[in-house]
Amino acid sequence: MTGTAWRARAIQIGFVVVCVLGWIYVGNARLISPIFLPRFDRVMTELLRIVSNGTVFVYLGVTLFELFAAYALALAAGLTVGFLIGRSRFWVAVFEPLLNGIFAVPIVIFLPLFILFLGIGIESKIAFGATYAFFPIVLNTIGGIGAVDARFVTVAQSLGATRWQMFKRVLLPAALPVIVSGIRIGFLIGFFSIIGSEMIAGLDGLGSQIVQLGEGMNTAAMFAYILFVILIAAILNTLLSLLQSRFNRVAAAS
């Protein structure tokens, strides 16, 4: 990391420390009812308890299972459709505005339909997460292939490349950075929409657990679960950006 990046990180850590100190102060001075803001130490004890006795991992397992199932569907569909459309400028011009338009409508409004069709179990969460994750993947795949320098394609064609060679040697490597960033955004959007759908109508998983604790006015445990989800999201995000930058370095070297 460069100097500015270190400084930014230091500021962020300092901010978190200040927030935690403020939280402890507010809890000690009893400025806010513990139902609205539970004491910091109680939340931490709760967090340690759910992690050490493993309850949180049961819910995490359900949510991650939904996420990976949804993501597998979205990847397969998004990459296939994206490549099929992205190969031809004509079909890109036909479909890109259409897909962008659909993505602009909040798909969450159809969540009641997903629940109606697939029930309140994990199936509706998988389908909903897959729908949300599909769009960034397909749009970035189309965009990535569309942005491949036309000269590369012409050169490969004039050298007599077959369709498969064109795909493997020209289109795929040149489009990959953009596609990979779509794949990453799709993963995160899929994660958040699954948590959201669990909250709105779910029986299991982290999202529904947060809501149930909140409805039981057990705010300390609810805060612990929320912190846990934020941590998981941060870990997933860091892993993905590490993968992405490693990937881009390999791609740039080859």
Binding site: Q12, F90, P97, A104, P106, P112, L113, I195, I210, A233
Partner: protein, 261 residues
Amino acid sequence: MNLAMTDRAGLRLSPGWVRAGIVVLAVVAWEVAGHTILDPEFISPPSAVIAAFPRILADSDIRHAILVSFYELLAAFGIATVAGIALGVPIGLHRFTLRSALPLVLLIYSIPQVTVLPLFVLYFGIGPASKIAFGVSHGIFPILLNVVAGAQTVEPAHLKAARSMGAGRLLIFRRVVLPHMVPSLFSGLRLGMSATLLGVILAELYGSQAGIGYYTQVFTNSFDPAGMFALVAVLAVMAIILNEIVRRAERRASFWRVTAR
């Protein structure tokens, strides 16, 4: 570049027409399927959805719900816009604030907002306030980040020139900073608009007794898909109208760019 495709018969097809054709085909397929294979308790053909419009618009509760959602959306978008500009301009204009405040904005933005949705309901109640607040929390970040990016493009020389000619802060903002930011501001506004809509609808679905999000759930639970789709269409129209307003404002605000070309 000419994107028209010539088929074997020599007919030239433009992408726009093909797109319209696909949409029409999809609607026809939906209509046919709605009368044959689909369960009418789960999904209705487009004709039934259109027929449902007068019915749902005649219901004063639903008219009220549409107004409530529109009010929440407008309020949230307004607050997100004002706050996004008010915070983004000072952050983007100075190196010191950029380096110290931007990391904080990015840190807060990295928190997945859905996870804190129950907190918004806890603090703001189940009325419109929690929807507006949640909408603001979604909408403000795209606006703020784009404003920051836009403010960074302002030429320091222009700022210096304006200052040396004795322009006050407000005048500098209106005449120098704002015109420079127009392109990124408006792309932020458009992103912020759809993010706000997402936040408001999410909060309405999560817990409320009013608004479009609530009634879509009511319609779905009472096996009235035609009413549900009609409401979604109302929502889509709402989103399109607001998007169009932003686009028009963009064209008006960037008139000088066109004449400069």
